[in-house]
């Protein structure tokens, strides 16, 4: 399979470095592994960063500083206070701005030589091939399973290397999926986990430094691919455990039965990835989720407040983790974290009406699904979770 990097040497032959660029990149230029040829390859190269968040921050900063000629950024999000603990591309004054705007300002300040392409949109099956098309290297820094499968499949269809990284609490993963030279993401994970089974950073938390390290591994691999130097992380999944401070490496082979990159691929075009991953839409931002009328089996925060104000004894089950309860809680709620629910079922009364809540409504829905299987019937989900309570009932409540 042809790789877009095959033509890089020829394209690098057509670019020149100004004397200012020579000064800027001098610490690269004096190393034989980079040199003038390598720096020209970087300048001639194009990289697409999908996601300008935790991983996208160090990626953007280092790739711009390194002199990658053209960097595309895909993100639709707005900077939130909760991003600043790890997304070092954005600063406190950027809160409320589109991430792509603060990213553009920061990256231009670091290196005005870099051409930036901004795609302020969701990456979808409809636009992915077009957006990925012009780039030599794709870097996956997204935060959800549907987009990870989408990026994988688009890269396989287009024959582009996909520099992969992902993070969870204290654990990181990184590898390079390079069609024709190694396995793809589906060789490693043919099917996504059930929705909600693997919490996002928003649900499960993440060590702020972690994406810095994993993103820097991705940036290193991208630069190596462009330079054509060293041993790329193809066919090797690198695991980083920050608590143990240990790296482990696992060999991954292409699966001949892989539906995407196997000997007889069955997936020949992009599919519906939300459906594939069983998500009815990612966890919506609290404002959007809290809006609207309650669905079947739901209670709104206003309804709950009215009932409490009338003096009704309502059993409110909080399935969040103890750390979250320390930040805020709805008065009178009973804590029983979702993971401990199976062991602590005896503490609950099957015949009692229960309003179940979490942060925004996803884990409580899983709790309700589980309790229904166990024979509970009088259950309802607090729509929008405690975030909706903070938005609509108690503005003094801190949000997280």
């Amino acid at each position: 399979m042809n790789s877009p990097l095959d033509s890089l040497a020829a394209r690098a032959g057509q670019v020149n470095l100004s004397s200012q660029e020579v000064a800027r990149y001098s610490r690269h230029l004096i190393m034989p592994e980079v040199g003038m040829d390598g720096q020209k390859r970087l300048k001639a190269a194009s990289v697409l960063l999908i996601g300008a968040g935790g991983l996208g921050s160090p990626l953007g900063l280092y790739l711009a500083a390194a002199g990658v000629g053209r960097i595309g950024l895909v993100d639709f999000d707005v900077v939130d206070f909760s991003n600043l603990q790890r997304q070092v591309l954005h600063g406190t004054p950027d809160v409320g701005r589109p991430k792509l705007h603060s990213a553009r300002d920061r990256l231009q300040a670091i290196n005005p030589e870099v051409r930036l392409d901004l795609y302020e949109t969701h990456l979808t099956s409809a636009n992915a091939l077009q957006i990925l098309g012009p780039y030599d290297v794709v870097i996956d820094g997204t935060d959800n399973f549907p987009t990870r499968y989408l990026v994988n499949d688009a890269c396989v269809l287009l024959g582009k290397p996909n520099v992969y990284g992902s993070i969870f609490r204290f654990d990181g993963q990184a590898t390079v999926f390079y069609p024709g030279r190694g396995p793809c993401y589906r060789c490693l994970y043919p099917e996504p986990p059930p929705p909600g089974e693997v919490p996002s950073c928003a649900e499960g938390g993440v060590l702020g430094v972690l994406p810095g390290l994993v993103g820097c591994i991705q940036a290193t691999e991208a630069v190596k691919l462009i330079l054509g130097r060293g041993e790329p992380l193809i066919g090797r999944l690198l695991l980083y455990d920050a608590l143990e401070m240990r790296f482990r490496e696992f060999k991954v082979r292409r699966n001949p039965m892989c539906p995407m990159c196997g000997d007889n691929p069955t997936i020949k075009q992009l599919i519906d990835y939300d459906q594939f991953c069983g998500v009815r839409g990612q966890e919506a931002p609290p404002a959007a989720q809290a809006a609207g009328s309650p669905g079947l089996g739901e209670t709104t925060v206003e309804q709950l407040k009215q009932r409490l104000d009338r003096g009704e004894k309502v059993f409110i089950l909080d399935v969040r983790n103890p750390e979250e309860v320390q930040i805020c809680r709805i008065p009178g709620s009973v804590l029983l974290p979702l993971p401990s629910l199976p062991q602590r079922l005896r503490e609950l009364n099957r015949d009692q009406e229960m309003i179940v809540h979490c942060k925004s409504g996803m884990r409580s829905q899983r709790a309700i699904d589980f309790l229904r299987q166990q024979g509970f019937t009088k259950l309802s989900n607090l729509k929008g979770g405690i975030l909706a309570w903070a938005d609509k009932i108690d503005p003094t409540m801190p949000k997280y």
Partner: protein, 81 residues
């Protein structure tokens, strides 16, 4: 035979420990290991089947037979970014 399975990321959280010790018969496969792990830790029921399994630092499919002393790792998918 006792096999030690190292649990990573979400599997470690759900399993409540960084490894699980499983008693498996001779000739047991990766698929048998998954079933035994879920029997021991029912909270892993939904995730275990979606995890990659490495044996001696190399990814292995469900048919792979486990030999004595094999180092087994259960690696859940991770999506955060």
């Amino acid at each position: 035979m006792i096999f030690h399975v190292r649990l990573f990321a979400r599997a470690r959280d759900l399993g409540g420990a960084d490894h699980a010790a499983l008693d498996l018969p001779n000739g047991a496969t990766v698929a048998d290991m998954r079933r035994r792990l879920v029997a021991l830790h029912p909270q892993l029921a939904d995730l275990a089947g979606k995890c990659a399994v490495a044996v001696d630092a190399e990814f292995a499919d469900d048919n792979r037979v486990l030999t004595e002393g094999a180092e087994i790792a259960l690696l859940p998918p991770v999506s955060g970014g």
